[in-house]
Amino acid sequence: MADPKKPRAAFAPWDRRELPGAFDVEESARRVGNYKWIEMRLFEALGGWVATVPELDVKLRLGTHCYHHAWHAELWHKRLPELREMNPDRLTVPPNDELVTFVAALTEPEGPGETIEKLVGVYRVLIPALVAAYTYHLNNTSTITDAPTIRSLKFALQDLFDDWRDGEMMLQSLIETPDEVDRAAAHQARLQKLLLASGGVAGPGSIGDPWASEVPGADEGIAS
């Protein structure tokens, strides 16, 4: 057995976590507040739609996914006070009015013949946007100081991947004609444009800015 008195490093050789991260406490709290807001809108809509869809399997999946997003909202709700936001309601807001407009359009379909539109909005537009924003946050925040957010992001992402697949499979089984392909595409394009105007679920910068220079001085040609 190894000598229990022998000193070991705080970070094992396989532990490559680093201190720096792209977000300070305030920015992380702002994003988490935006996440809570959109997850709330999503679970409310999924719950409301259950009664409006005649397809039994879709009805049951929406009920199941409704809880997933409520749980994500709860995770973010509990994270906010840990990010020095003692009044979680203050930051439980959309990033801008454009995202409010997007959510209004997303939740517009109601009729029993509009299941395709309901599913397209959630599974082809909003959930992919959430996956993107959460992944950007996960990959850019400090792996040491912001570990609790990372843990919640990973739980949420696991649900999102599973639900995304469920939703896409439901859609593929519902879309049976070229006209329905067009319907789905047209609705997706309409919503995607509204989401684009908002900049994403956390506003502009939801997934970072790939056009920004990553290396200081790169623009001056001295980085190489």
Binding site: F43, E44, G47, A51, T52, G63, T64, T107, P109, P112
Partner: protein, 285 residues
């Protein structure tokens, strides 16, 4: 999507056959019809000659009830704003209440899945029996406190009684699959009723008038669902009041005594109507 989704618009595929409360009550074959001359068949046991059909019908009723419970909980997620009650938002609810309703959505979705599998196991199919919609109708109340009290305390409370009865039926019929599934669903129902009990207490702590209205609504729903003695404490009640599980869910002894009394009254009322109907038929013969 609008707030408050009417029962007439509940979305179903072609297999479902919906029966409104009025139709059900006026249908002479229904136990809900006070003039029904056929006596209740008594407690659901394997010894009953009609036990297989009665169990299948009850399972179908459980399935359609679970769909409506799912829809009702989902609508509660959507219909009400989150926040404190104000003049502008008299129907506002706490965030945590919505989280409970979302959790209930998941539970009810699983119950639908379980019920479909059990229906298949027991030899029936979706649409073999009709769907009564009064569970969802109770879930249309525009006051969230009344809605939760009517659905989570009265109807989910009935679900406790029904699942306990089915669990015992599974045990006595030597059906471990039925007993196993009903026991799991019973655990969820206790949770749902407890949610209703807790929210009723929390939301009306400083509003006794609203609490009284909610409890009155619960009594109305309870009476409606006693169905002429369908659920009660008599030996021959088809569904027995499950006192032990109701206690776990926040019912006190007085409330359960009152529920037993409501069932008894409902049964006596049905018997009176039956006797009157029989007397009228004899007189006319």
């Amino acid at each position: 999507m609008k707030k408050l989704f009417p029962v007439e618009e509940l979305a179903r595929d072609d297999r479902f056959r919906r029966v409104a409360i009025a139709e059900r009550i006026t249908d002479g074959r229904s136990p809900a019809n006070a003039k029904n001359q056929e006596k209740l068949q008594g407690r659901l046991t394997p010894a009953r000659p009609d036990a297989p059909d009665a169990a299948r019908q009850l399972m179908h009723g459980i399935f359609t009830g679970e769909i409506q419970a799912l829809e009702g909980a989902g609508r509660t997620c959507w219909d009400f704003p989150v926040g404190k009650v104000t003049d502008e938002a008299p129907d506002a609810v706490p965030f945590e209440l919505k989280l409970d309703m979302a959790r209930q959505c998941w539970d009810e979705a699983r119950h639908c899945e379980i019920s479909v599998k059990l229906s298949d196991w027991m030899g029936t199919v979706i649409g073999e029996f009709s769907e009564a919609t009064f569970l969802y109708e109770a879930a249309c109340n525009p006051d969230p406190v009344l809605r939760l009290t009517g659905v989570n305390r009265a109807l989910e409370g009935l679900a406790i009684d029904v699942f306990n009865t089915m669990r015992e039926f599974g045990d006595s019929a030597g059906d471990p699959v039925l007993e196993f599934c009903e026991d799991w669903m019973l655990a969820d129902e206790v949770t749902h009723v407890k949610m209703g009990s807790d929210w009723l207490r929390r939301l009306t702590a400083t509003d006794p008038e609203r609490q009284a209205r909610a409890l009155e609504f619960q009594r109305i729903v309870d009476k409606l669902f006693s169905l002429g003695g369908f659920r009660g404490e008599d030996d021959d009640s088809p569904v027995r009041l499950a006192r032990r599980f109701r206690e776990l869910a926040g019912f006190d002894t007085d409330e359960m005594d009152e529920l037993a009394e409501i069932s008894r009254e409902s049964r006596d009322e049905a018997t009176r109507y039956q006797e009157q109907a029989l007397a009228a038929a004899d007189g006319g013969a």
